[in-house]
């Protein structure tokens, strides 16, 4: 499975209706990702990063072309199958954390495991492990409102990682964080990528994130203008 393609995008186009016309958000995208990559879609706002991430995350479908994730062709997935793909194999990290506000940290991290119908004992161990990865074992009973931005994003990472997905999709994960917190978050994700061989795909225009990436895909006006493997430039903050 090492180095096998887990995401393949072929001639993909995504158009959105805009009044009577259509807006082309992605145009002729050809990309592939192998297991364990730490890659980022980089570009200015409106370049199509999030749209591409949403399609890979089976939250949206291409208008043309083909997107294949872990052997599933996104174009033809039913709602149920798409949900199953996300449930079992994908983790999401959002810019605004998207924690469930009335749940505790523990319950937020538990959520994906409940959907997977894991038994209580197994859930508990997995949750504590995930919180241990992000250094939040002392916050299990806190509610999101009681957490700082950095802590909230760490909970979101724990929630994405708790089920040990093959792919984690992170949309501007540091946009709402200061430099210090961003560094710690990215360091955590980098460690998880290394230790669990999880594929991370970012959508970002934040230099702090770009420094950590091992592959940078630049998008402009819905097209890939650069796809380069780089050496991580991350240094101790």
């Amino acid at each position: 499975m090492e180095n096998s393609k887990i995401i393949t995008i072929t001639d993909m186009v995504k158009r959105f209706p805009m009044g009577k016309n259509e807006f082309t958000a992605l145009n002729g995208i050809n990309l592939s990702f192998t297991k364990g990559e730490f890659a980022g879609l980089v570009g200015p706002s409106g370049s199509g990063k999030t749209t591409l991430l949403n399609i890979v995350g089976s939250l949206d479908v291409p208008s043309d072309g083909k997107a294949e994730v872990l052997g599933h062709t996104i174009n033809y997935l039913s709602h149920k199958k798409a949900a199953k793909l996300r449930n079992f194999h994908l983790g999401f990290i959002f810019q605004t954390f998207n924690l469930l506000p009335i749940y505790t940290v523990y319950e937020n991290v538990e959520f994906p495991l409940l959907l997977l119908k894991k038994p209580a004992e197994e859930r508990k161990k997995a949750i504590m492990d995930a919180l241990d990865w992000v250094g939040l074992t002392d916050k299990v009973k806190s509610k999101p409102a009681q957490l700082s931005g950095g802590e909230s994003q760490r909970v979101a990472i724990a929630r994405a990682m708790v089920k040990k997905p093959e792919i984690v999709l992170a949309d501007e994960p540091t946009a709402n964080l200061d430099a210090d917190n961003s560094f710690h978050i990215l360091r955590t994700m980098e460690n998880l990528n290394r230790e669990l061989n999880t594929t991370f795909l970012f959508a970002t225009h934040d230099d702090k994130v770009i420094r950590f990436l091992k592959r940078i895909i630049r998008l402009e006006d819905g097209k890939v203008v650069e796809d380069a493997k780089v050496k991580s430039k991350a240094v101790t903050n």
């Binding site: 939250l59 949900a83 605004t96 009335i102 959907l115």
Partner: protein, 391 residues
């Protein structure tokens, strides 16, 4: 489904005051509906019990011509007590009642009344006919408190009674009020005068004849008697059942308004939730819930208000309802105007069927009301929902 239940309970308890306000309104609906239905059932039971004891016993044989709603039938609706029922009448096990129209003149006024002759030794109905066994030379008359009150009659008062005998000849004599009884059954009281049957037979020149035979309530044997028709409880209490049924229908409007208020609260909460919790809905979808599961979660959340309301209603409703069932509900003096037997206090009766039916109705309604707005989730774009964009 178990996940939906678990998450819905978590969401509801997490929502705090908003949940508990809805739950309280719903619990109030439960308690009020059960109390009101229990009150009507208690009233019905008491009214049936009193009507059986005071008026109809185990049923009545009516002369075939007798129609209580048509006074013109009274002149012909009488005949000799049938042979196969006579011994029971003599033993006081059946109450023979002869019915006639008359006019009285209390304090110089003119008042139409129904004269009812009854065998004084009867023990079938609770009318205290033994009071009619007196030595008075006048016609001994027994009346109810309503009749006494309306005509300002007291024990020992004389009242002129005028009637027509079987030939249509008018006659008149003084009657003496020998007893006044208090009953919850207005039909044997309002406008009615009870006298010994032998006396009325003599007045009407109808010796040995009767209009109604009320049988003992323990008597289960119905005899076929020519010229007479047996009327059982189903028939004799049907009017009362109809009145209670009408009151229940009237009560349904009250339940409907109560339920409407509670359902509006749930519907409002659901609509608000679906607008305010779009980001949450998007997150659920991103984390792997199907749209159906999200709809199910929101529906269960709404419906679960009614389940929590059962618990809340039990906390304050059960003691309240038990207390009411024990002390009863005092009826106002004017309640007699209902035309039904009403005691001074009505003791509500709560059956398991009533409680289960109420719970089912409220829960099903709450589920439907919760599901309707939740369907909108199916049309949401998850990528917009994740960002909290109002759709």
């Amino acid at each position: 489904m178990m996940i939906s239940l678990k998450l819905a309970l978590r969401n509801l308890l997490g929502a705090g005051l908003r949940t508990w306000l809805n739950v309280f309104v719903l619990s109030f609906s439960y308690v009020m509906i059960i109390w009101h239905r229990g009150f009507l059932d208690g009233w019905n039971k008491q009214a049936r019990f009193d009507t059986i004891n005071w008026e109809i016993g185990g049923g009545q044989y009516w002369h075939s011509e007798y129609d209580p709603y048509d006074p013109f039938t009274l002149t012909d609706s009488h005949s000799a007590i049938p042979d196969n029922l006579k011994s029971a009448v003599d033993k006081g096990e059946n109450a023979a009642i002869l019915v006639s129209q008359a006019t009285i003149y209390p304090e110089g006024r003119l008042q139409g009344v129904i004269l009812k002759g009854i065998n004084v030794n009867q023990s079938v109905i609770k009318i205290p006919t033994e009071k009619l066994k007196t030595d008075t030379e006048e016609i001994p008359v027994l009346i109810g408190t309503r009749m006494a009150g309306n005509n300002k009659l007291n024990i020992g008062d004389m009242v002129m009674i005028r009637w027509r005998d079987k030939n249509g000849t008018f006659d008149a004599a003084e009657g003496e009020i020998v007893g006044i009884f208090k009953t919850t059954v207005p039909k044997i009281d309002n406008g009615q005068m009870w006298i010994p049957i032998e006396k009325l037979q003599e007045m009407l020149q109808l010796p040995g004849e009767t209009t109604i035979l009320t049988v003992n309530k323990e008597n289960k044997e119905i005899k076929q008697v020519e010229g007479w028709t047996f009327k059982g409880h189903d028939f004799l209490l049907s009017e009362m059942d109809e009145v209670i049924k009408t009151k229940k229908v009237g009560g349904s409007i009250f339940y409907f308004i109560l339920l409407l208020l509670a359902m509006l609260a749930i519907f409002d909460t659901q609509i608000l939730s679906i607008f305010r919790r779009q980001k949450e809905i998007g997150t659920y979808v991103a984390l792997g819930m199907t749209r159906g599961q999200v709809i199910s979660l929101f529906t269960v959340e709404g419906a679960m208000h009614s389940i929590l309301a059962i618990g809340v209603a039990a906390v304050y409703g059960v003691p309240l309802l038990i207390w009411q069932a024990k002390i009863g509900f005092a009826m106002p003096a004017m309640a007699d105007d209902y035309g039904l037997a009403i005691t001074e206090r009505i003791f509500p009766e709560y059956g398991a069927g009533l409680v289960i039916a109420t719970i089912l109705i409220v829960t099903i309604t709450a589920t439907i009301v919760s599901y309707m707005p939740a369907r909108k989730i199916a049309k949401m774009n998850p990528t917009d929902a994740i960002k909290g964009k109002i759709q």
